[in-house]
């Protein structure tokens, strides 16, 4: 492996100064599961690595309705967080199937989105959850919606002297559920062919069914046999990974569903719209037509899963199983 210097600043300010000092010759390293592999594969060749491991508090998770995570929070810490599992389920779905235990023990959420692979598993859930990210340099500090963070495959708005210092997920509306599905060939250690995340806020959390067996049925059946009870969508966010050069929101599909009465037919239409909005490409993992077809299937299923997590929270199964 190429030789490099390895610096371990003890404060954020110290790290910012070093980053400024070395400019393009330095690269930040968090868990290193991307950076070290990229150096080994000769994709990058920094002279200096600046580690964020010794900086206190960057691995904190704070919850007070909204969620704040430092960039050094590991995927394993997210996987183990009951608060995230309960309130921001789509993120748990994602980290549950990201890499392996060994990877999740060291790889961080800040690293995952800063590497900005189109396949980054946490990107689509963060988009669906409406996350914002805080970026800090010696001169400026700014907070932007995560939609504006990704600019291309492997590219973000991060300048060479910027450090991603915080990821903030706003407090969800009442009766909100979210879900992420990583469509992959293997059950683990794979990159997604497609990633689909949906967040849905409903106007109620309980429904009455005309059929007694209804509550034990799949959500599509529940929606069909509501007893004069209608469920409306108050808010929705649909996010797709590996469906365009950057993780994307399916804005048109969301518009179709927002403030509407939820039905099986409408969800189908929403999923079809999302498939039309996506710009997938042919790649070794899957062809564009196949990805589009799977967006149709999976957007609807993730919407169903989100509804299920609101109406039947006690049945929420982890690690994710579709049905």
């Amino acid at each position: 492996m190429k030789k490099f210097e390895y610096l371990k600043p003890h404060t954020l300010d110290e790290a910012l100064i070093l980053l400024d000092q070395y400019g393009g010759r330095a690269r930040l390293i968090a868990g290193g599961t991307d950076v070290i592999v990229m150096i080994k594969q000769k994709e990058i060749s920094p002279d200096v690595l600046i580690s964020l491991q010794e900086i206190p508090d960057l691995d904190r998770i704070n919850y007070n309705g909204s969620l704040s995570m430092g960039p050094m929070v590991t995927h394993r810490a997210i996987e183990k967080s009951e608060i995230i599992r309960k309130n921001f389920s789509a993120l748990t779905d994602a980290v549950d199937v990201l890499g392996s235990v060994q990877i999740r023990n060291v790889a961080t959420i800040g690293g995952n989105i800063s590497t900005a692979a189109p396949s980054a598993d946490t990107a689509a859930p963060l988009l669906a959850l409406g996350a914002r990210v805080k970026l800090k340099s010696m001169k400026t500090e700014r907070t932007i919606p995560i939609e504006q963070f990704f600019t291309g495959p492997g590219e973000t708005v991060l300048q060479k002297d910027d450090i991603l210092t915080e990821i903030i997920i706003p407090k969800p509306l009442p009766n909100t559920g979210s879900a992420y599905w990583k469509h992959q060939r293997r059950g683990a250690l794979d990159l997604p062919i497609l990633g689909v995340a949906v967040l849905l806020s409903l106007d109620k959390a309980t429904v009455t069914c005309s059929d007694l067996l209804c509550t034990a049925s799949p959500i599509s059946t529940v929606l069909h046999s509501l007893e004069g009870d209608e469920v409306f969508c108050k808010e929705v966010r649909i996010a797709l990974g590996v469906a365009a050069p950057t993780p994307m929101r399916a804005i048109d599909a969301e518009k179709l569903l927002r403030s509407k009465k939820i039905s099986d037919e409408l969800l189908e239409e929403v999923a079809e719209t999302a498939a039309k909005e996506a710009q997938p490409r042919d790649s070794i993992r899957g062809e564009a037509w196949y990805r589009r077809d799977m967006i149709k299937v999976l957007v609807k299923r993730m919407a169903m899963k989100s509804i299920e997590r609101v109406l039947k929270p006690e049945e929420t199964v982890f690690p994710v199983r579709l049905w």
Binding site: M1, K2, K3, F4, E5, Y6, K8, I29, G32, T33, I36, V37, K40, Q41, L49, S51, Q53, R76, G99, S100, V101, Q102, I103, N105, V106, G187, A188, L189, P319
Partner: protein
């Protein structure tokens, strides 16, 4: 520029001078001559290089050695009691035929240990989830899963 790192290795403090670009795996194998830890893919995919860092599994082949400073590292050599007695997980692996060529075994055993330390009675699904980062090309995993179940008294 070489730097000195101090860490606890298999219960004993060690101090070693390392170049900053070395991985923990290179330091363990080449400098400390503990060759029980294997290098498979070298890219963090196969898990042959798994060691425990503060009790958690990490792929040592992509882990910067300098980050081990001040931590506690356990390799497969640290699992026996020093008197030549195998750990119960190792015994179960032998008993259930969970070893063939043996190359994945050190990593697999340490992943099993980390799993059982956290969850004394894992379900089969939890076992599969826990060892998903350790590839074995010989056994087909079934014997390994049986061995781990047996250690947990199932």
């Amino acid at each position: 520029m070489k730097q000195t790192i101090n860490f606890i290795l298999n219960g004993e403090p060690v101090s070693v001078e390392v170049e900053p670009h070395l991985t923990l795996l290179q330091v363990l194998r080449d400098k400390l001559e503990l060759t029980g830890t294997k290098e498979g893919c070298g890219m963090g995919e196969c898990g042959a290089c798994t060691v425990l860092l503060n009790g958690k599994t990490v792929n040592s082949c992509i882990f910067p050695a300098l980050e081990a400073d001040g931590k506690s590292v356990m390799t497969i050599e640290g699992l026996t009691d020093g008197q030549g007695h195998l750990h119960p997980i190792q015994k179960a692996f032998i008993e259930y035929g969970a070893i063939q060529c043996g190359f994945c075994t050190p990593g697999m055993v340490l992943s099993a240990k980390a799993l059982l330390d956290e969850n004394t009675k894992p379900t089969e699904e939890e076992i599969r989830h826990g060892i998903a980062g350790n590839l074995c090309r010989c056994t087909g995993y079934l014997q390994i899963i049986e061995a781990i179940k047996a250690v947990s008294g199932q």
